[in-house]
């Protein structure tokens, strides 16, 4: 059978070959079997129809989803403690660690009567991540000394406008663990239950 490979079409006999994959073009006239045409067609069809009985490698997303790797880095969440107070103190370490300079924030002082909202005397009044800039490297998560930012198991959803990718605190904050328990558990995802030995 002719073994025609375009990258091997150059006459290489006079040259020393760089790899052992190059094959010289077979220029002999075709045999009767090859000229009959149909046997080759049936052989190809057999391969094609054979795939129908194999296991499908694709899934019906979004009805079916694949499990995320335990180290998957998706959309950020701003964490709360068990009483539902925000962990972030606007220390700026995530912003300084961010190689894409995607994170910005404004700090404010906790007033009397806001103790149930913020864990420490300073908190992030505004916290913003520009998802157009973010490269999901997870360095913010590494840098955070307050257990406040995590990369979750979700993708940043698509949007029709760029301004939809400026994520503020309302988009990032995890639901309240007491008042919105169900949403909170969902946002925590599955991998937090993995116990370390």
């Amino acid at each position: 059978m002719h073994n025609f490979k375009p990258w091997a079409a150059i006459e290489i006999t006079s040259m020393q070959s760089l790899t052992n994959r190059a094959k010289a073009v077979d220029r002999r006239p075709m045999s009767l079997l090859e000229r009959a045409y149909l046997p080759a067609i049936f052989k190809g069809m057999a391969i094609t129809f054979g795939h129908m009985f194999k296991k499908r490698p694709t899934i019906n997303y979004p009805e079916v989803t694949r499990p995320f790797s335990p180290v998957f880095r998706g959309l950020h969440v701003l964490n709360r403690d068990e009483e539902g107070r925000e962990n972030c103190t606007a220390c700026g370490l995530c912003a300084v660690a961010c190689p894409a300079e995607a994170i910005t924030m404004e700090a404010a002082e906790r007033q009397k009567g806001e103790e149930h909202l913020y864990r420490e005397e300073k908190y992030a009044a505004k916290y913003e991540i520009n998802m157009l800039r973010c490269i999901f490297c997870g360095l913010c998560e590494e840098a955070c000394p307050k257990d406040a930012i995590y990369l979750s198991e979700t993708f940043a959803p698509a949007n029709f406008q760029r301004k939809g990718f400026i994520y503020g605190k309302d988009d990032l904050l995890i639901p309240h663990p007491i008042n919105e328990k169900e949403a909170y558990d969902k946002a925590r995802g599955g991998r937090v239950t993995i116990k370390q030995a």
Binding site: A108, E109, K122, P145
Partner: protein, 372 residues
């Protein structure tokens, strides 16, 4: 005839610190001799401040080993000595970073200093320019062995300009020396003894002296911070610029560093030298008055001299590129004078750094109402 002549005291003393020999004037301390050499051989100092008389000898971070006392008496000193309080002798041999004993002792001192320190660096405004952070990073150990409750204090208000966080204090006494030596009447000092010792004003009297703000600059930790800068921004996100103005206050040098975000002056400090102390001009320390520090928060109040040079190992140098040449913007030229149509201007969308919020005009930290 006798050869017994009194030895003439040498005009300069030869001292060897970490195998580097230097001639210094008699009466120089080991620490200052090491500072004349500079670089890594200089012991760190938390309480010693060359511009404040009588400071030093309290924190023990500057401990060094004296391997030979002098030429006349070359015996080593039996214990490590505080280099800020030990004067050099001719022929003295000092070991600082070449001595394992010193490294070990210094790690121990850091551990002691951090015993009661709250480690609230994420909240503290000093973070990024804190000497205790640097000390712990360079000389300390990673973990703590302290298992007891850390010492805490009742929060005390010492006036509208200065924020006192007593829990962060390492009792270096620098601020009380500022009050003693720079202001005509001292209104604050150290109360109680031992573990209970704390900086306080006498019956909580507000500090209203013209030079009281300098204790913010001398404080090596975040115990005394600028209330007008409180929580406004992290130090490393602000841009330091050297500036000056003709200050009328006698004793004020008028030369400062402005810490800006955009055109807003978030904080004014005195200029610092390589040891983190206030810079000297013609031998006089460049203290600044409270008017310069707390009231002149507009760029129009100042004549800007240029970017402050920041050590590139400091976190403050992040994101600052002196000498950066931006390429020429050619889009308008190519498009025949038309500006490019922006698909999104980040300032229309972002809630951070809004042009209508002027943090520099606030006298204290922002609260929840400021950004709404």
């Amino acid at each position: 005839m006798s050869d017994e002549t009194k030895p003439v005291p040498a005009a300069t003393f030869k001292v060897t610190i970490d195998n580097i020999t230097i001639d210094v004037a008699p009466g120089t301390t080991v620490l200052n001799a090491a500072r004349q050499i500079g670089g890594d051989v200089t012991p760190p100092a938390m309480c010693y401040y060359s511009k404040l008389q009588g400071s030093g000898g309290k924190c023990r971070t500057c401990l060094v080993e004296v391997a030979a006392g002098s030429t006349a008496d070359p015996r080593p000193m039996p214990k490590l000595v505080a280099s800020c309080r030990t004067t050099v002798m001719d022929g003295m041999v000092v070991k600082n970073i070449t001595s394992d004993k010193v490294k070990d002792a210094r790690a121990g001192v850091v551990e002691f200093l951090l015993l009661n320190h709250p480690l609230d660096c994420p909240v503290c405004d000093q973070a990024g320019e804190c000497h205790l952070q640097d000390l712990g990073y360079n000389h300390g150990k990673e973990g703590t062995r302290y298992e007891f409750k850390r010492r805490t204090f009742e929060k005390e208000d010492i006036g509208p300009y200065i924020q006192l966080h007593m829990t962060r204090c390492i009792l270096c006494y620098r601020c009380t020396y500022v009050a003693d030596q720079l202001t005509n009447k001292r209104s604050h000092g150290i109360l109680d003894r031992g573990e209970h010792a704390e900086i306080s004003t006498y019956i909580s009297k507000a500090i209203d002296n013209d030079f009281s703000g300098n204790m913010i600059d001398v404080c090596p930790v975040g115990a005394l911070t600028d209330k007008t800068f409180r929580f406004k921004n992290r130090v490393w996100f602000t841009k330091p610029m050297d500036a000056h103005r003709n200050c009328e206050t006698p004793g004020c040098c008028g030369k400062t560093t402005l810490w800006l975000r955009g055109e807003e002056v978030f904080r004014v400090t005195a200029r610092k030298d390589e040891w983190g102390e206030v810079q000297s001009y013609d031998g006089k320390p460049g203290w600044i008055c409270n008017t310069c520090r707390f009231d002149k928060k507009k760029t129009t109040d100042w004549i800007v001299d240029g970017l402050t040079s920041i050590n590139r190992h400091s976190v403050i140098s992040q994101g600052k590129y002196p000498g950066l040449v931006m390429p020429k913007e050619t889009i308008t030229e190519v498009m025949g004078g038309r500006a490019p149509r922006l698909l999104m201007n980040i300032h229309d969308e972002s809630e951070v750094n809004k042009p209508n919020v002027h943090l520099s005009e606030l006298n204290g930290p922002a609260d929840s109402t400021v950004f709404d």
